[in-house]
Amino acid sequence: MKRTLSVLVENRPGVLTRVAGLFSRRGYNIDSLAVGRTENPSISRMTIVVDGDEQIIEQVCKQLNKLIDVIKLSDITDDPHVGRELMLIKVNAEPAVRGEIMQIVDIFRARIVDIARNSLIIEATGDADKIDALENALRPFGIREVVRTGKIAMLRGAKTKGMEASGDGTGD
């Protein structure tokens, strides 16, 4: 079972290590972890996708909440949210197949962001399914390199998972 956790943390050096270290130390599986600053420069948001049964997810959340630098944690898997990841993918692209690749890129509403003599870099955003599908569609041409950010997510509508929702670090 994959769960998407949205975690507000202090924007301080070492916080990422604490979070990542907690996962490895306790033997949890991180699927992806994306981190960046929020509208408040002193706070970063981590979007963590973790895989595990209910008991494991509960422990992950509780252990994360114990970290002093974790301000607030929400499991947003079941809330309506927009989830996206960004992928850059470099594919082999001899002139003869470029047209075909461009068609695929169009279908997925991705973009070509770099052209070399016989390769292209394509940029795509979307949910994990779409990104996977694009990667599969491009595979026959020969993929040279893939870079993915991991998922970031935001609740739909006016609701936020910001500080004001609840100040205590124990909400689970």
Partner: protein, 560 residues
């Protein structure tokens, strides 16, 4: 005074916070990178105890904290000084002991360059501290130090480390000590949830065979009075974990003693037969539960703990309740109705009679018997520090603890070498109490250099060293699990411990026969100096009861 013009350095700001926190005593070991702190420490009235190894500075701070209920403090230098702390920090972490550790670090400009005596101690201690800091900006230092004490001593206590680069300690610091600690990510829950409290009261009312199971959390929150009130009000027997020894007086008729792989038979049976088990500040360690799927099979389990992450971690829990044990019990007491459980208490009595704590035949001087005598002679009031091994389990089983904060031992990590430095910390924290160290020849040799510290500090420690010239607990494991092939457990090069402590100016006594036990213990108690008793015992002694791997708690091996 008169020094007011002296520049206020980061190091001085640290001392101001220590003084504001009421710190009177620190343990430590100096070195170049931490000298700015030492320089300022010397200008304060805070006492410094120079240990013989940094690991023991943390252990001593931990012994101080466990017996006094205050936060222990220690200092060490960068690099090897800092890495020597690791076992001590992990030990304190596992037993939730509040300690604040200061390490010196190479100057900021050299951090990350593999400079002389540099280690990434915050990286190394990340998984074994409650929190840690590398201070990069001197203006953050007052806040960080204040925060560290707050974090170490509140919620579930634990060690907090502050790594201070030398230039930061020497830099001018203008920032005042903040009035308050503001940590938006740290808000421990003390009060119990009212609904859950009522639910627990209901469970207690419905239970016909309730069992209270008290751990270190009871002692940490000073809740032993409430625990006793509850137990008496509902007439429920009380068992404890190893860290919980002393949370409930063992001479009380409702006391069952310690539960676990070497727990008391009656307590273990009670766990298997109760219909409600209320865990109070315990973490259901695997040394408590035995085979976890066979643990407390007939019971609903209620679990009260200040750390939500402990609830449901190891055992299934029917009723979780997050909060400080003291707050929770105080709120719970008016909600529970007085109860009687004559049938259950009758059954407990039968179990007690059918399965007494015994130790079978053995060598000339029986360690269990010696500890029973010690318990009688001190009326269970002395502070007992132990190391790790058979002697630790005998000390847990046969002494008879009557007061909280009188049993100090490395329970979670099982750290040999803990006892002597922890006893030093205890003796400094509680000068009016008798402090006994119960140790083995293996453990003692891991920390015996601290005899120097104890003598230097004039501490009248009493050391009962069970000398079997072996690592007998490991030998016991080899006996049961490795076909009695005793490998690497025999010491043939032990020193004469009596003469050893006499070299330090302390007193050595010896016990080789049973009739010497009481007179020698009595003599040790009379002496005003440090006394070590070299008590010769057989390496073939066993710790019973013993629950073998995979077995349930009531499937104990008992002495024949």
């Amino acid at each position: 005074m008169g020094q007011e013009t002296r520049m206020r350095t980061g190091a001085r700001a640290v001392m101001e916070v220590l003084e504001a926190e009421g710190v009177e005593l620190v343990f430590g070991y100096p070195g170049g990178a931490v000298l700015p702190l030492y320089h300022e420490l010397a200008q304060t009235s805070i006492r410094h105890v120079l240990v013989r190894h940094e690991q023991n500075a943390v252990h001593a701070a931990s012994g101080y904290a466990r017996t006094s209920g205050r936060t222990g403090v220690c200092f060490a230098t960068s690099g090897p000084g800092a890495t020597n702390l690791v076992t001590g920090i992990a030990t304190a972490y596992m037993d939730s002991v509040p300690v604040v550790i200061f390490t010196g670090q190479v100057p900021t400009s050299m951090v990350g360059s593999d400079a002389f005596q540099e280690t990434d101690i915050t990286g190394i201690t990340l998984p074994i501290t409650k929190h840690n800091y590398l201070v990069k900006d001197v203006d953050e230092l007052p806040r960080i130090v204040k925060e560290a004490f707050y974090i170490a001593g509140t919620g579930r206590p634990g060690p907090v480390l502050i790594d201070i680069p030398k230039d930061v300690a020497l830099a001018p610091c203008q920032t005042p000590i903040p009035e308050k600690v503001e940590l938006r990510g740290y808000k421990p829950t003390y009060q119990g949830h009212p609904g859950q409290l009522r639910a627990l009261a209901r469970l207690l009312k419905e239970a016909r065979r309730p069992l209270l199971f008290a751990g270190g959390g009871v002692i940490a929150s000073g809740a032993e009075g409430y625990l006793r009130e509850l137990a008496e009000k509902i007439q429920a027997p009380v068992a404890t974990s190893l860290t919980g020894l002393g949370a409930f007086p063992e001479d009380h008729p409702l006391s069952l003693g310690m539960v676990g792989l070497h727990g008391k038979p009656c307590a273990n049976h009670a766990v298997m037969e109760c219909d409600l088990l209320v865990g109070l500040g315990v973490r259901f360690d695997d040394r408590v539960t035995g085979a976890v799927e066979k643990f407390a099979p007939q019971a609903k389990i209620a679990h009260v703990d200040i750390d939500p992450a402990e609830i449901g971690k190891n055992v299934r829990v029917d009723l979780p309740l997050v909060g400080d044990i003291g707050c929770v019990l105080k709120e719970l007491l008016p909600l529970v109705e007085p109860a009687r459980h004559p049938v259950w208490l009758e059954r407990i009595k039968t179990l007690r009679n059918n399965y007494p704590l015994t130790y079978g035949p053995g060598g000339e001087v029986r360690p269990q018997w010696v500890i029973e005598r010690l318990g009688e002679m001190t009326r269970g009031r002395a502070i007992i520090a132990t190391d790790v091994g058979q002697h630790q389990m005998w000390a847990a089983l046969f002494y008879g603890y009557t007061e909280p904060r009188t049993f100090i031992s490395s329970c979670g990590l099982g750290t040999m070498g803990y006892g002597l430095p922890a006893a030093i910390g205890a003796a400094l924290a509680c000068p009016d109490k008798q402090v006994w160290l119960i140790t083995g020849d293996g453990s003692f040799q891991m920390a015996m250099a601290e005899i120097g510290t104890a003598v230097e500090q004039g501490l009248p420690l009493k050391i009962l060293l069970f000398n079997n010239e072996s690592l007998a607990m490991v030998r016991q494991l080899q006996h049961f699990y490795y076909d009695k092939r005793y490998t690497a457990v025999k010491f043939t090069g032990n020193p004469d411990f009596v003469r050893l402590v006499e070299c330090y100016g302390a007193k050595g006594l010896r016990i080789t026969k049973q009739e010497e036990v009481v007179p020698v213990l009595a003599q040790a108690m009379q002496e005003e100096c440090l006394v070590l008793i070299d008590c010769r015992i057989s390496e073939e002694e066993m710790v019973y009861p013993m629950v073998l791997n995979g077995a349930a708690l009531n499937e104990m091996l008992l002495p024949e």
